[in-house]
């Protein structure tokens, strides 16, 4: 076990020297953004090679822990058990980089009359306490829940922040990506779904209120920037150790105004 980690460390350490490809794995929420970053960076720096894969935040973090990726994209913060495993294998707690902001939108079908919901109502809907649209001001039909698979950072963030740690209802259908959730909600008049605000084509955003008294907000550039949209989250990148060499130039470029401009183009929000 120790020998394996020494060899892995040596290989990881040797990577920037041999200028091999930089591997980026993880969040499906961030995969389009990561691809645009990689394309823009590679066209500006022809000697760099960056490989981007999706698979979900959980997949990315596992890959980071197993040593199969350099950068891990994650739409949720890394958890204590994961940091512990990283510490066991690489003797470091990892480096967290906030690379962009995202407003987590709640989608509804365009034919759905419900316009706004409080955070508590969203929580009760997704834990199964509220099962009919009429209880939140809609028509008398059962709510059909669409969720993400449990390897998704979006799933875990939603569960921890909106559901406050409670489990999703057993009847929530688990779809493999945000695009699948949007597709499902757009075809189902009684559906409700959640996901990154950059993906919403063919569905409507439900305006979210922090509590019954506050104003209901939709996720857009201003509400996310000043934090008035209640479900704003950071999109993280994790590394095993402080970046050096080619990795450092890539990360610095991402955090620079050029990289952040691409964030806005894709539909997310810059981190500053």
């Amino acid at each position: 076990m120790k020998l394996k980690s020494i060899i892995a460390l040596a290989l990881v350490g040797a990577l920037p020297l041999t200028a091999g490809p930089i591997t980026v794995k993880g969040s499906d929420t961030m995969v389009i953004l990561a691809q645009r970053w990689a394309e823009a960076y590679m066209s500006a720096h022809p000697d760099a090679t960056i490989q981007v894969t999706g698979g979900g935040s959980g997949t990315g973090i596992s890959a980071l822990i197993n040593g199969t990726t350099d950068i891990c994209n994650s739409s949720r913060p890394m958890k204590a058990p994961e940091r512990e495993k990283l510490k066991q294998r690489f003797s470091s707690l990892g480096v967290e980089i906030k690379s962009a902001k995202d407003g987590l939108a709640v989608y509804a079908n365009e034919a759905n009359p419900v316009q706004e919901l409080t955070l508590d109502q969203v929580k009760d809907i997704y834990t199964g306490k509220i099962t009919n649209w009429k209880d939140v001001g809609g028509s008398d039909t059962k709510i059909v829940l669409y969720s993400r698979e449990n390897n998704s950072g979006t799933y875990v963030y939603f569960r921890d922040f909106v559901l406050k740690g409670k489990d999703f209802s057993a009847s929530a259908q688990n779809l493999p990506g945000t695009a699948a959730v949007v597709n499902a909600v757009s075809k189902d008049p009684n559906g409700i779904g959640y996901g990154g605000s950059a993906y919403a084509k063919g569905v409507r955003f439900i305006k979210i209120k922090k509590d019954a008294g506050s104003e209901a907000k939709e996720p857009n550039a201003e509400t996310v920037k000043d934090g008035s949209y209640p479900i704003t989250r950071y999109l993280f990148m994790y590394l095993r150790s402080r970046p050096t060499g080619a990795l450092k130039s890539y990360i610095d470029w991402i955090l620079s105004p050029e990289g952040q401009e691409i964030v806005t183009k894709v539909g997310y929000f810059p981190v500053k």
Binding site: L93, G165, A170, G227
Partner: protein, 355 residues
């Protein structure tokens, strides 16, 4: 090792009076034998690997909830912007109840599958039920269609019909399952929802229908072989006594081929039980323990497919997924073995012997 009675031409006897071994032949023989053994070895190794990863659960060494102590925060890089984003309470999982429970039969036969949770539950019953529901619906549609198609092409079709239909139906076997799943997700689910006015668009019924498309060629091919193996004397006798062609087909040939057809259905069951892509896309993946067929389900294969990538090696979740894989393996392998060795050989011999 030459038998003593064989005449060996003198050109083939070497200087020591024994037959000259040709090195090339020896090499080729050994090489082909080695290839066969490599195949057997691969199968054995896969068994060993899958069962080894699931073994700790069976031996009672895996904890139900893994306790972690706080290890500190990661360092950050880049300007730390003013925190305007809403972050969940950090490290909720450190508040999970400490417990030394070992995963046992009570946990595994539980009714809820919630592996990524502050109180993880690893009950596989909803997953098994989901697999069974989808397989049942698939066989309900694919069974009669495959068997009657085989009956038609082997007994009632004119010669040119058989030459055309058999390869065409077998093209179905070449459909990539991901394409079938995609078709089900986008097209079939909407059609079924509009036709039946269903509440859930993605459900076990849609998954089963799509699965039937993948299972028909399996049932068709094996049934066709079974029907073709029925001795011609049965057909001739029946026609001679005055039965019509379809009476012969339905009342004489079909019952005679029953063992083979049973084997075909078993193989179809095994194929449907293990199919992953179609159910991953078309069934909605909700681990519900409910009797209805028009509700979303989560199958064993889809669970492994969706969750395997996110587990860290050695986790409880990781071991549970391998346990699921072992169960899948045992069921598929068992069904295939029963179909191959018992039904096809033993019972078919019994029928062949009768002619």
């Amino acid at each position: 090792m030459t038998p003593p009675s064989v005449e060996i031409p003198s050109s083939k006897i070497g200087i020591w009076g024994k037959p000259r071994r040709r090195p090339l032949e020896w090499l080729i023989e050994r090489g082909i034998r080695a290839t066969a053994f490599v195949c057997l070895l691969l199968i054995a190794l896969i068994f060993v690997f899958v069962f080894r990863e699931a073994l700790p659960i069976v031996l009672g060494k895996v904890k139900a909830v893994e306790i972690t102590e706080s290890v500190g925060e990661s360092e950050t890089y880049g300007e730390d912007p003013a925190p305007t984003a809403s972050q969940p309470k950090k490290d909720l999982e450190l508040e999970a109840e400490a417990s030394d429970e070992i995963i046992g039969v009570k946990h595994i036969l539980g009714k809820e599958w919630q592996p990524v949770s502050l109180k993880p539950r690893f009950g596989i019953l909803p997953l098994l039920l989901g697999s069974l529901k989808v397989t049942f619906i698939a066989l309900l549609f694919a069974g009669p269609m495959g068997i009657f198609a085989a009956l038609y092409t082997s007994t009632l079709a004119p010669k040119w019909g058989k030459e055309f239909m058999k390869p065409t139906i077998e093209i179905l076997a070449g459909f990539p399952s991901v394409v079938v799943g995609f078709f089900a997700l986008i097209v079939l689910a909407s059609i079924v929802q509009n036709l039946f006015g269903l509440q859930y668009r993605l459900n076990a019924f849609v998954g089963g229908l799509a699965m039937a498309i993948a299972v028909i060629p399996v049932i068709y091919t094996v049934s066709e072989d079974a029907l073709a193996a029925v001795p011609k004397s049965f057909t001739e006798a029946s026609l001679a006594v005055g039965a019509s062609k379809w009476e012969t087909a339905l009342r004489v040939i079909l019952p005679a081929a029953t063992p083979g057809i049973f084997a075909a259905v078993l193989l179809g069951f095994g194929r449907a039980f293990g199919e992953t892509m179609i159910v991953l896309m078309a069934t909605g993946n909700a681990a519900m323990l409910s009797p209805g067929f028009f509700e979303p389900v989560r199958t064993v294969s889809a669970t492994i497919g969706a969750e395997m990538a996110e587990v860290v090696f050695g986790d409880t979740h990781y071991r549970m997924l391998f346990l699921l894989g072992s169960i899948l393996f045992v069921i598929s392998f068992g069904l295939n073995a029963v179909a191959e060795f018992f039904v096809r050989n033993k019972l078919m011999k019994k029928f062949k012997g009768a002619s």
